[in-house]
């Protein structure tokens, strides 16, 4: 039974999150014991994948130095990047495998933990069938590890069900771009951003979630470019927006269709481009007729003249970049929203040219690389489709199995949790994923976890989800294994091994390969190092869309990254896609796609009259498994707050800092209010990085986009009321250890 063995409080005392404030040996130690080497690698957090140099001494990361030569960030780092090194040498770090016991978790040997894992997997598969075991992966894994997870699921376990936490990130844009262009990648490198005449940013809190991109946007404005921002909140980049469109949550499609309507009404489309390089324009043009300005304004709450101005700026400019992120994607019509952006880009011919193109901003560290080589439930390496007979035959050949042995596509991340809840999936092996914090409707997730007959976790810290595990295999940090990553730009980069895993912790890929051997499938996993995995990955991706055949560690180091596709060792890589206006679709054309308006899966009502939208703050990352353990980052934004407009606050008698209860159809959450004029009065915003009594995902709902299967995190219905104080439940704020007073030795 995968319930937490002892109370959450007891587990927190032992495994944290505790707050680490100071480097090993204290602040002054480095002046006595300087670093032995600087390792040029990358930040372990978001999809910007900034270059950074880690200071290393005696197999410990003791600090950082900016890496100014790396072209993407040129030394720039956000606060998470600055403090990333403090996750090493952390008191919460798992140093050996753990097995559940009556008293909590006890230390185990690797043999005991791995044999137990293998025997439970075998028992469950023999009793219930191969698909009764599911695999969760994550987008913080290197590309080699992501590839390995896909192969492990299909070849070692033979299960259909493998998916990853990237399902909560880029999949709506990925689905849309595959439909339109046949490829899932940003169409441009970031170096194009300063060259645009107009930047249209929709549903992308760039300042908080992709901080380095801010400099590219400001440089575009320096060059005379105009910035349009569409968001229910004035996010930091809005301070310099030339036009701000404060749309109602969940109405992006109406705004985009209203803009397309104006572009076509005023004859601003690029007829020649449409005729030569696209299909499907007429149907989309027909569908845009109904979206007149009055209707678009009514749906979005944005003045019609502002929508018209945005459309004209986009329609009349020669170079337009349209940037979008989770705000657009985290909706039950996330794919539609992204397709609507693409339709505007295609209608105006803004693609394949300098300073032009639609651009998804991937959010997770290896969000791009982690979704290219088979970690997704429906995909094989090289962005190949698992249902394509030719792809199955090729990959089966590379792997040395019969194509028939390859399972068919399985469930997506949230669907796996639902299958666990209804008893269809009995066992789960999860790495690099904290679904109890990051999936919607956390109470449902908790119930599902309690139904598992076997739950194994590979991780370096004991996440809140791992509290429910039967066995925890102590894995590796980003800096403890070599590997490739791929940034939001599509630039393949090299994560360099800086140190060995501490204690008895092992590299993640080592653990997976060992499990494969113990499952009797060792002949398919002969890898001795990440380099061995990369060799096979290069061949497996060869001829696919995400072709890595020409990419090696040496080339990546020398060339400061390589943009895929890179089909041969002498190929320079492909920074900007579609330069020749040839698309990766079956007919080589870009495809317009008709979009369909659907209401949110959690509509507002008299009882729940407000919109709840969730997102990130700059000092925290995803479910906080890593960043909630770093003292300086917690100090910067210690607790989730409910952002509301003074107009709403006044109506409810709420003052800044008051305790408020936010209630949805799932649950309620009591936190403090932050009263600001930078959010719509009909909207409540809560960041989602926290667990337990402060978990925003207790409030969200499980409606998925029908194609991308992304949850609708950005639109829930809620109400808010003043509360007398925090919940009566025990205070679960994170205790300080290790340099509790700031500025101490």
């Amino acid at each position: 039974m995968a319930k937490a063995p002892v109370s959450e409080e007891t587990l927190k005392k032992q495994f944290g999150p505790h707050l680490n404030y100071v480097p090993p040996g204290g602040w002054k130690d480095e002046s006595i014991h300087p670093a032995e080497k600087l390792v040029k690698t990358h930040c372990c957090f978001c999809g910007q994948q900034c270059g950074i140099q880690l200071k290393v001494r005696e197999n410990r990361v003791i600090g950082f130095e900016p890496w100014e030569e790396f072209p993407f960030n040129r030394g720039m780092l956000c606060p998470k990047g600055v403090k990333r090194y403090l996750q090493g040498n952390h008191p919460d770090r798992l140093l050996s495998p753990l097995m559940r016991s009556e008293q909590g978790f006890r230390r185990a040997t690797w043999d005991e933990a791995l044999d137990f894992t293998v025997s439970r997997i075998r028992e469950i598969q023999e009793k219930y069938g191969k698909d009764a075991i599911a695999i969760y992966g994550g987008a913080s894994l290197s590309t080699e590890k992501s590839y390995l997870m896909g192969k492990f699921a299909r070849v070692a376990l033979g299960t259909r069900h493998i998916d990853y936490n990237g399902r909560l990130c880029m999949v709506s844009a990925g689905t849309a771009y595959k439909l339109a262009f046949g490829v899932d990648r940003s169409t441009i490198p970031w170096s194009e951003i300063p060259k645009a005449e107009v930047l249209f940013v929709i549903g992308a809190n760039i300042g908080d979630c992709a901080p380095i991109t801010t400099d590219y946007i400001w440089r575009c404005r320096d060059n005379g470019g105009r910035l349009i921002v569409a968001d229910p909140r004035m996010t930091p980049i809005t301070r310099n927006a030339d036009l701000y469109l404060p749309l109602r949550p969940g109405t992006d499609l109406a705004l985009l269709m209203g803009m397309l309507h104006v572009i076509l009404r005023d004859g601003l489309e690029d007829r020649e481009f449409i005729a030569r390089f696209t299909t499907g324009f007429e149907a989309v043009a027909e569908s845009a007729k109904q979206w007149n300005l009055q209707k678009a304004a009514e749906m979005t709450g944005v003045p019609p003249e502002a929508i018209e101005k945005a459309a004209r700026w986009v329609g009349k400019s020669k170079r337009v970049i349209l940037m979008h992120a989770r705000g657009l994607e985290h909706q039950s019509k996330g794919v539609e929203n992204c397709l609507a952006v693409v339709n505007i880009a295609l209608a105006t011919g803004n693609i394949g040219r300098e300073g032009a193109g639609p651009t998804m901003i991937t959010g997770q560290g290896n969000g791009q690389g982690g979704r290219e080589h088979g970690q997704k439930c429906d995909q094989l390496p090289g962005q190949r489709s698992l249902t394509d007979p030719a792809a199955r035959e090729y990959i089966a050949g590379v792997w040395g199995i019969h194509p028939e042995e390859l399972p068919q596509p399985g469930y997506t991340a949230e669907e796996i949790m639902e299958a666990i809840h209804r008893g269809e999936i009995k066992g789960l092996l999860s790495t690099c994923f904290n679904p109890l914090v990051s999936l919607p409707d956390a109470n449902f997730t908790r119930e599902a976890l309690s139904k598992l007959e076997f739950f194994g976790v590979i991780d370096f810290f004991l996440s809140e989800t791992a509290h429910h595990a039967d066995v925890v295999l102590s894995g590796s940090l980003h800096e403890e294994e070599d590997g490739l990553g791929c940034s939001a730009e599509g630039r393949v980069i090299h994560w360099k091994k800086s140190i060995d895993p501490p204690g008895e912790a092992r590299p993640d890929s080592d653990i997976i390969i060992d499990l494969a051997h113990r499952l009797g499938r060792g002949q398919y996993f002969p890898f001795k190092s990440p380099a061995d995995i990369l060799e096979e990955l290069r061949i497996a991706s060869r001829g696919g869309i995400a072709d890595y055949y020409g990419i090696t560690y040496e080339r990546v180091d020398k060339e400061m990254g390589i943009f895929w596709p890179c089909p041969s060792l002498d190929h320079p890589g492909t920074p900007r896609l579609f330069v020749d206006r040839k698309f990766y679709t079956h007919d080589g054309k870009a495809h317009f796609n008709v979009t369909e308006w659907r209401p949110s899966g959690d509509p507002i009502s008299d009882e729940y009259p407000l919109f709840l939208t969730t997102g990130r703050v700059v000092s925290q990352y995803l479910s906080g498994t890593q960043t909630r353990r770093i003292g300086a980052l917690i100090d910067q934004y210690p607790e989730p707050r409910a952002e509301i407009h003074p107009r709403l606050a006044e109506k409810q008698g709420i003052k800044d800092g008051d305790w408020v209860t936010v209630t949805t159809r799932r649950d309620d959450l009591t936190i403090q209010a932050m009263v600001v004029k930078t959010i719509r009065p009909d909207t409540v915003f809560i960041p989602y990085h926290w667990a337990g009594t402060r978990s925003a995902n207790r409030l969200t709902h499980r409606t998925l986009d029908p194609r991308s299967k992304i949850p609708e995190f950005k639109v829930s219905a809620c109400r808010i009321a003043k509360a007398s104080g925090p919940d009566a439940s025990p205070d679960d704020r994170d205790p300080h250890v290790n340099g509790a007073s700031r500025g101490g030795a």
């Binding site: 030394g75 780092l77 956000c78 600055v82 300042g207 980049i237 469109l245 003045p303 000092s619 009065p681």
Partner: protein, 191 residues
């Protein structure tokens, strides 16, 4: 670093506080940040500003120091107080028109931004300006800053006191009234 100047542009600041976090990683004052940071008026708008010491040509902090503990180098850098001389009287903290000096209670010493003297003296850029994701803090050549919309100035007036500084402030090339309430941007006829 020869040929490089320090520019502060609050209009570019996104409030991420990377500068604060990075400043305390600096060798000479590890664990203590010397950056000044404010949200201007968070209830009203999202504007934020991070700034370093302006390194005045005639530093008020040094002028008011009764212990002669604050020194300006030939390169124009105004340093933290000299530990053996500083009497922690707070004169500099009170007198600085920019609010820069910080009294370190534990050490009984005034400390302040020295523009990463340990870094710039060995050819590295200051930590804050290197990491700043929006380049609101920038340490670049004048020709680089000339590409920006805003224009640099290093002349400040505080009442009758005119102050010229080593560090430049980026000011808007043209001014216009800015409204910053979401409601002002919403459709008045919203149903």
């Amino acid at each position: 670093m020869f040929g490089y100047e320090f520019y502060v542009d609050p209009s570019r600041c996104i409030g991420c506080r990377s500068c604060l976090q990075a400043c305390e990683e600096c060798e000479t004052h590890r664990g203590k940040s010397m950056i000044n940071f404010d949200f201007i008026e968070r209830r009203e708008n999202i504007s934020s500003a991070a700034y370093v010491c302006w390194h005045c040509d005639e530093p008020t902090c040094a002028q008011v120091c009764p212990a002669d503990a604050i020194k300006k180098g030939e390169d124009g850098i105004v340093h933290s107080s000299l530990k053996p001389r500083c009497i922690a009287c707070n004169n500099c903290v009170l007198a600085c028109p920019f609010g820069i000096p910080k009294m370190m209670e534990a050490e009984q010493q005034m400390m302040k931004c020295d523009m990463c003297y340990d870094r710039t003296s060995v050819g590295k850029r200051p930590m804050c300006a290197t990491v700043c994701p929006s380049q609101a803090l920038a340490y670049v050549r004048p020709e680089e800053i000339a590409k920006r919309r805003e224009r640099p100035t290093n002349v400040f007036y505080f009442g009758g006191q005119k102050i010229t500084t080593k560090v430049y402030m980026m000011a808007p090339a043209e001014r216009e009234a800015i409204t910053l309430d979401v409601v002002d941007y919403m459709w008045k006829e919203e149903p």
